[in-house]
């Protein structure tokens, strides 16, 4: 605040100056005003015997009025006017300082509103406090109610606080009165003695941070000069602390909410991941839905698919030797090997039925065939491991059939299930059970074979025709031998042409030629059960004959 001078009073285009001029003109009296250095600042120099009257402001002479007797009154009037101006100025300065404080708080609120991180809020608060309340050092301490620990999210200035000692002796803060109040601390030797405050600290001020009557922490500022802090500083610090504690409280609440929402989302995601395993996502997608939650009772879709059935041979005998737990582990280990193979060939497992698997291949039948061949290899690997553990080798049959299929959601209001309803599924299951008769590990229907592109890539043996139980139509059955272990495969390849020619003869009712052909196969490959099977039938028909309407199909009465 610049000092008030007589010159500035008269310089002002004030009513007073105007009045003085009119007064002088009216009176016609010579009047002069001089400043404290006797420099003329108003009127004209007055000759000789005139008197000088001082103009005072708070006992300080700021100038003189020279002239006749009236000059005394003018001097008194000017003193009064100066007094008034000085008061106005003082008031103005105070209002401005309040306004500056308001501006600080306003800007601070604006900054706070832009962040939701408690740490950032603490840092901003300290930064603002040190800017507005000149200090050598400062910290923000927060008390964590859950961990019962003091946390120091912000620090600034010189290292006058020993944070480690502060954290390890939070009780000492209470000793200097750091409770709910805020104050300028005069006695803080205990903090110096305990090493929390460094020796050069001469002044200390703090404001408590409170939320809902709970003390959450404090802003503490330290200065190296004596009596560095005033009541005005304390008032400002309290305001800043109040604002920041509200902001930190909201930020922590926000963080907590976000954390909870995230946890809930993760839980839902985990449920989703698990349900996906129970109902294949391919199944849901086939129904034109994105998620299991969108699926409704009665949803359905029709598709041409290849159905794969696989089943462990002689599982009953095998399982008799195991405890239920061992049984479960065994089936799980088996399934764990085959699942990935099925998925790798764009298939998905529709159902596990004890020791058997039902899988669907919605794209192409060769996917299913490739998967089947690879599954046989996987089983061979599995057996290799089992033999190392002294366990018996297992065998599995695989049956494939291609045809229309309806996938849908069936059940009732309380219990839903993904279901496939189709004759194709039954047929595939029946074909799989035929593997027992021929002891062939991989059988497929003629319908499936017909829809396989570039079928010449595979080695196919024709196994005649069957009429399945309860069916009118006759089904061609073929065997794919690609999946046999190398040695067996060599034998099967060597006998392939004999076998297929014998089968042609058989279907042409030339049972003698057929029996001869199958015999030839057996001579090279005595373990070929399919050949044995057909020799028996051919021999029977050769002696008994067949009806005129014989279709070449064997009626399969068992499942």
């Amino acid at each position: 605040m610049s000092p008030l001078t007589l010159k500035s009073l008269l310089n002002k285009r004030s009513d007073f100056t105007a009045w003085l001029q009119s007064w002088q003109e009216m009176q016609g009296n010579a009047l002069a005003v001089e400043d404290q250095h006797h420099q003329l600042i108003f009127g004209e120099a007055v000759a000789g015997q005139s008197e000088s009257f001082p103009v005072n402001l708070n006992d300080e002479i700021l100038g003189w009025v020279k002239g006749g007797p009236q000059a005394r009154l003018i001097a008194q009037l000017m003193s009064l006017q100066l007094q008034k101006e000085a008061e106005k100025k003082k008031l103005g300065a105070e209002v401005l300082s309040l306004y500056q404080e308001l501006n600080v708080i306003y800007n601070f609120s604006e900054k706070l509103s832009q962040t939701i991180e408690p740490e950032v809020i603490a840092k901003l608060t300290l930064e603002q406090a040190i800017h507005s309340i000149p200090s050598h050092s400062g910290v923000v301490v927060l008390w964590n109610e859950e961990t019962k620990q003091l946390h120091i999210p912000a620090r600034s200035g010189l290292p006058l606080f020993n944070e480690e000692k502060l954290r390890s002796q939070p009780g000492l803060l209470l000793k200097i009165g750091l409770g709910g109040q805020s104050e300028i601390v005069n006695e803080f030797d205990v903090l110096k003695d305990s090493g929390i405050l460094e020796a050069p600290v001469q002044s200390l001020i703090y404001a408590a941070m409170k939320a809902k009557h709970r003390i959450m922490g404090a802003i503490i500022l330290a200065g190296m000069e004596a009596e560095q802090y005033s009541a005005a500083h304390l008032k400002l610090l309290v305001t800043l602390a109040l604002q920041s504690s509200t902001a930190i409280e909201s930020a922590m609440l926000y963080e907590k909410n976000i954390r909870e929402v995230r946890e809930r989302e993760e839980a839902i995601l985990r449920i989703h991941e698990v349900t996906k395993k129970f109902v294949p996502s391919e199944f849901i997608r086939a129904l034109g839905k994105d998620s299991l939650t969108d699926v409704m009772l009665g949803d359905q879709v029709g598709k041409n698919v290849t159905v794969l059935f696989t089943d462990i041979r002689d599982f009953t005998t095998l399982s008799e030797k195991m405890t239920p737990e061992e049984n479960f582990r065994f089936v799980s280990a088996f399934n764990a090997r085959l699942g990935p193979v099925i998925r790798a060939h764009r298939g998905f497992i529709n159902q596990y039925l004890g020791d058997s698997i039902m899988a669907l291949f919605p794209d192409a039948p060769e996917d299913a065939l490739e998967a089947s061949i690879e599954m046989q290899e996987a089983i061979q690997d599995f057996n290799l491991e089992r033999s190392r553990e002294g366990l018996q080798a297992i065998k599995a049959g695989i049956g494939l059939h291609t045809g229309p299929l309806i996938m849908g959601i069936t059940g009732d209001e309380y219990r839903l299930d993904a279901a496939t309803i189709s004759d194709t599924v039954n047929t595939a299951a029946r074909i799989e059970s035929l593997t027992k008769y021929y002891r062939s590990p991989l059988l497929l229907s003629g319908d499936a074979l017909l829809q396989i592109q570039q079928a010449e890539r595979y080695h196919i043996r024709h196994l005649g025709k069957v009429q399945l139980k309860g069916k009118y139509n006759v089904l061609n059955i073929v065997e794919c031998i690609n999946g046999y272990p190398a040695e067996e495969l060599q034998l099967k390849l060597r006998t392939l042409d004999y076998f297929n020619e014998a089968m042609s003869a058989y279907l042409n009712r030339d049972f003698g030629l057929a029996a001869e052909g199958f015999q030839q196969v057996l001579r090279l490959d005595p373990e070929d059960h399919a050949a044995k099977y057909f020799i028996n039938i051919a021999n029977k028909y050769q002696h008994q004959g067949v009806p005129d309407n014989w279709s070449g199909a064997e009626a399969m009465m068992h499942k």
């Binding site: 285009r13 209002v95 401005l96 500056q100 501006n103 306003y106 800007n107």
Partner: protein
Amino acid sequence: MAQKILIVDDEAHIRMLIEQTLEELEDEGVEFITADNGEKALHLIQSEKPNLVFLDVMMPKMNGMEVCHKVKRELGLEGVFIILLTAKGQEFDRQKGQEVGADVYMTKPFDPEMILEKARQVLALS
């Protein structure tokens, strides 16, 4: 001739605050004039030709925008530097401010240091 600053605001404490903020310029010979409404402001701008005007936007009778438009666009007093003052949070149409020819606009509560700096810059005082 002395440089003049005109402070126009209908709120007395704002006029006082600006005057108090710029107080030190008085020692450098700058004269302050104040007005509490747009009409008075327009008169004073014509008669006193101030170098700088702090002009509040929201005022009764004639608002700051109208005053600014009259001065800059109708009276052609291009030499008068006009700083429009708007309250924070109050919608300020930048484009409209430009259309009426305002040189700068500032928001209230203003930063005293910024106001002083700007005034020194406009009056070419160091």
